[in-house]
């Protein structure tokens, strides 16, 4: 017959041994075996001891039962702790073994990019977009009428020398060449004004052509963005405001801007807008030497666009009354802007399509 003190003693020993054994277990199988040995519901040691209590009196049952429950709870919590401990040890071990070399190259999907001309065009049109200019586009193959005459450049006018023209080998009934590749985006001024009455506020991105030998700063075709604003009360001061804001958005607030008088037959007064040279900071010469800066050729300034107040003749020819309406127009060279922003020293890269160039943007 087992007595209460004996059971209590057994429980006490059991607790000590079980805890020691649990500590010694090293794997999941051992844990399971230990659990069955001590906490197994049918034949576990605790269960067995509980079963043996049936012979005790009520008082002893209560004492021993309480202790047995305590021991059981203790072992259960130890078991849980031990499982956690082993999981975490295992994880630690696995994570050491499974370390990644964070410097190995990642596996990348093929990477496409937009051509720098597209990117720059978007920057330019969006800068003007913030000022309410909408985008329209027009034909590249043009007539003399729109490319020149509607822009106040009649036949045999010396200003035609400013636009070396690529004519197409096609003649009209009178034997005159009647198609050309537009020399600027300006023909769209007339085309827009013919169909849109003021207020007009548009930008025209597009490709233009010049019959010109190519070199580091000249291409025979390039991209341009034309701008046109016509309404009552538009002034030269507005032209300056618009173009200053454009320069600030594109080049940042620290670039200086210069407006000087220039001649284009379709504006009056005419403007040339320049920014100070990024290469020499407007000094005109290479820092610390007397060598001339090759980007601005010593002037300290780089022309980025021609502009001006729309010539009254141009308004008139498009049936807009110049005594009521005024307006301004501008034309900016896209490659030039991209070259300035990115320090590209040869315009021929843009249409050379060398992937090693394109991947840099």
């Amino acid at each position: 017959m087992t007595t209460a003190p004996e059971i209590l003693g057994t429980l006490h020993n059991l607790k000590t041994i079980a805890v020691a054994e649990l500590d010694a277990v090293t794997d999941a199988d051992g844990i399971e075996a230990w659990r069955i040995t001590y906490l197994g519901r049918k034949e576990g040691r605790i269960t067995m001891i509980m079963k043996g209590m049936a012979v005790l009196d009520t008082e002893s049952k209560r004492t021993v039962g309480a202790m047995a429950n305590d021991v059981k709870a203790l072992l259960e919590s130890q078991l849980e702790a031990r499982i956690e401990e082993m999981k975490s040890a295992q994880f630690n071990q696995a994570s050491v073994a499974g370390r990644v070399d964070v410097t190995l190259p990642g596996r990348r999907p093929a990477l496409g990019r937009l051509h720098p001309i597209t990117q720059t065009l978007r920057e330019i049109t969006s800068a003007f977009g913030t000022m309410g200019f909408q985008i329209v586009e027009g034909p590249e193959v043009e007539t003399d009428h729109y490319n020149f005459e509607m822009l106040n450049i009649p036949k045999d006018h010396p200003a035609r020398d400013m636009f070396d023209t690529l004519w197409l080998d096609h003649t009209n009934a009178d034997g005159e060449q009647d198609m050309l590749l537009r020399t600027h985006t300006s023909p769209m001024q007339a085309r827009v004004m013919e169909v849109t009455k003021p207020p007009v506020r548009v930008v025209v991105p597009g490709r233009v052509y010049r019959y010109e030998a190519t070199d580091a700063t000249h291409e025979w075709h390039f991209a341009q963005v034309e701008g046109l604003a016509v309404d009552q009360g538009i002034t030269f001061a507005n032209l300056k405001g618009t173009l200053y804001e454009f320069a600030r958005l594109i080049f940042g607030p620290e670039r200086r801007v210069r407006f000087r008088c220039d001649f284009f037959p379709f504006v009056e007064p005419g403007v040339d807008m320049s920014i100070d040279c990024f290469n020499c900071d407007g000094a005109g010469n290479v820092k610390g030497s007397n060598d001339m800066c090759r980007i601005c050729r010593g002037s300290g300034w780089i022309e980025i666009m021609g502009a001006g107040m729309v010539h009254p003749r141009v308004l008139e020819m498009s049936n807009i009354d110049p005594s009521v309406y005024t307006g301004f127009a501008f034309g900016v060279g896209v490659e030039r802007i991209a070259m300035l922003k990115h320090g590209i020293d040869d315009i021929r890269y843009f249409y050379g399509n060398d992937a090693r160039f394109l991947r840099q943007f």
């Binding site: 496409g112 001649f263 007064p269």
Partner: protein, 805 residues
Amino acid sequence: MKVPLSWLKAYVDVNVPVDELAHRLTMAGVESGGVEQLGGWNDTYVGHVLAVEQHPNADRLRLCTVDIGAEQLQVVCGAPNVAVDQNIAFAKVGARMFDTHSGKTEALKPAKIRGVVSEGMICSVLELGLGEEHDGILVLPDDAPLGSLLSDYLGDAVLDLEVTANRPDCLSVLGVAREVAAFQGNRITEPDVSYPEDGEPIALLATVEVADPEYCKRYTASLITGITIGPSPQWMQDRLNRAGQRPINNIVDVTNYVMLEYGQPLHAFDFDKVKDRKVIVRQAAPNEEHTTLDGIERKLQPPMMVIADPDGVIGLAGVMGGGNTEVTEATTTILLESASWHPFNTRRTGDALKLRSEASQRFEKGWRPELSPLGLRRATKLMLDVAGGTAAKGIIDIYPGQQDVAKVTLTLNRLERVLGITVPLEEVTKTLTTLGFDCKAVGDDAVETTVPAWRADITIEEDLVEEIARVIGYDRIPTTMLSTPIPLSQPDPARELKEEIRDLLAAAGLQEVVNYSMVSGQAIEVTKGTAAEGAKEPELLRAANPMSPEHEYLRTTLKPGLLKTLANNQRHDNVPQWYFEVGREYLFYGEGLPIEPEVAAGIMAGPGALSTWGAEETATGFYDAKGVLESVLERLNVVASYESTDDSFYYPGRSAVVTANGQQIAQLGEVHPTVLEHFDVRAERAVYFEIDLAALLTALPDVGRRFRGPSVYPGALRDLALTASVDVPAAKVQTIIEQHPLVARATLFDVYIGSQVDDGVRSLAYRVFLQAQDRTLTAEEVTKAMERTLARLEKELGATQRQQG
């Protein structure tokens, strides 16, 4: 136009440094391309020779005492022409000089020559870098200012000005002087044009007949007898040299000098060579021949204007003189012409003969007839000064093109409406007056101006607005944002689609390129392929003056550019060669202007993905390009179908047309090997695709996407392995499977052709996901759906379930 500062100063006081001058001119519209400094000597002065003695120890050397104002110095000199009382250029020790022995520019060192200390050097032209002469020292004029720095006296700066097409007046030193005077607020000094007219009346000596008054606006001439041809004086040669004009002889130099001074082109005829002393101004006869001064024989056509005598042409009006009346050493009588020619006719003549001269450049920009006699008198005076002789009394002046003086009125109101600032009337008047306009106030808010003859570019009020703006400076005009209403936004779906396509193709891994719009005729021919049935072929448009054979025709397709891009890049490295371009084709159908449809096209070759460690390498093929197209179209919500096509641009059996909404929107395929070969593409295969953006736009769904809630009920997955003839298009199989109402989607996961299946048969394996919107499917329903699908596949396509084993 090169303008020497010293010459400019002859007409206007310049009170700013030359760099500032260049800047002001640039800002006012006459752009300076740079300032060239001449001279720049240091420690070199205008000196006076007080005494010349024999060197005690050397026969050929002299000992000179030189006064340079502040001090007297002793110098040893070997020049044979040194003499007492000469003004000379004296370089002190330390001055940097061209050393004739070493051939370098070096600083003068203190020296003892044959035992005598020499405190500097009396300089030759060569040592000063002013010329080649080294026979003796440079002797300066008597009025050279003693003791002043030589660079102040002899140095010069030359402004290189780029003159715009509207300002022929600035192709002259006087014109530039007027600009300078305008922004400095001072006035110019006009050159002297008076001379004695001691000869017989000109009408007795020469006759001039203007037979074509339309193209000759004015013809004036003077006559000088008894001239002596020789070199022109040094001062004139210096000015011409610095202005970039080579001196020739005194008569020719005067014509050039006055052209540069006034802008008026002139021509001197050797009058003894003019038949019957009679000049006729007329149009050339058809095919009339004439040898110009440059020795080239030219065939002339009406309405080119010529100067002729009764025997024939003696000069090409406004362009170039004739060889037969050229001034030579023996010339003694000069007929000097100063005329005004029709600008457009002069320009057409120059264009037709491919001959541009300093004279024609000025005439074609519109040279006013009022100015002709002024230049004539100035040149006659200078010829008498430098070549002697006697001027006939009076001048010949035939003036058929007389016109009223131009008057333009400027109102302050207009000025403000254009510029956005007010400028007081006094300032407006003062500014215009300094520019040479005669101003008359009209009320208190307008001024009526008489435009000076040299400003033919001023015709309307806005021209005067620009004059005010550029003289007061564009910087004075405020900078204000637009405040007028913004026009209503006009949607532009075509443009939006184009930009979206760019983004989608880049996102799919393709690099955008931009190619030239002109290509060679051969490139078009090679890439032509097979035209769609009934399609009208566009006419090729060729440049009249092509940049090169590579860029001769406007492209009718983007194919050549992309193939070239591929060829140019294939050698660089082992990355996917995936390129696209969004650009225009130029299609001309014989009427009006060509249409310029926009196309998104791509070429794909090379590895199928970026090569990476631990991944299998694949090569780009048809299905990569198709995948790109599919993903682009899916993003645009366009349902498209693909149909095999027969186009000789592509590899046989490996191309497709893409149709949506009943019309063709795209094509793609492997490029035919012979085409690849033509473009030197070394890749085994390259896949081309092309999306017609206008067609795609019409295929876009009319309404936006409608939301459909995802089913909350579980679905079931079934694999379906089929065998069917290789001729059964996979798309048909897929369609039949997905047409079952319970099939949510079917994904093809394997295609097999080989020993495990019969010849001519392939196996297609799909993973089919079945799901209902309103309930959980029972196993029975799923099985029934699969059975029904299989039955349809078998009946309609002859496909059967693949037997495992």
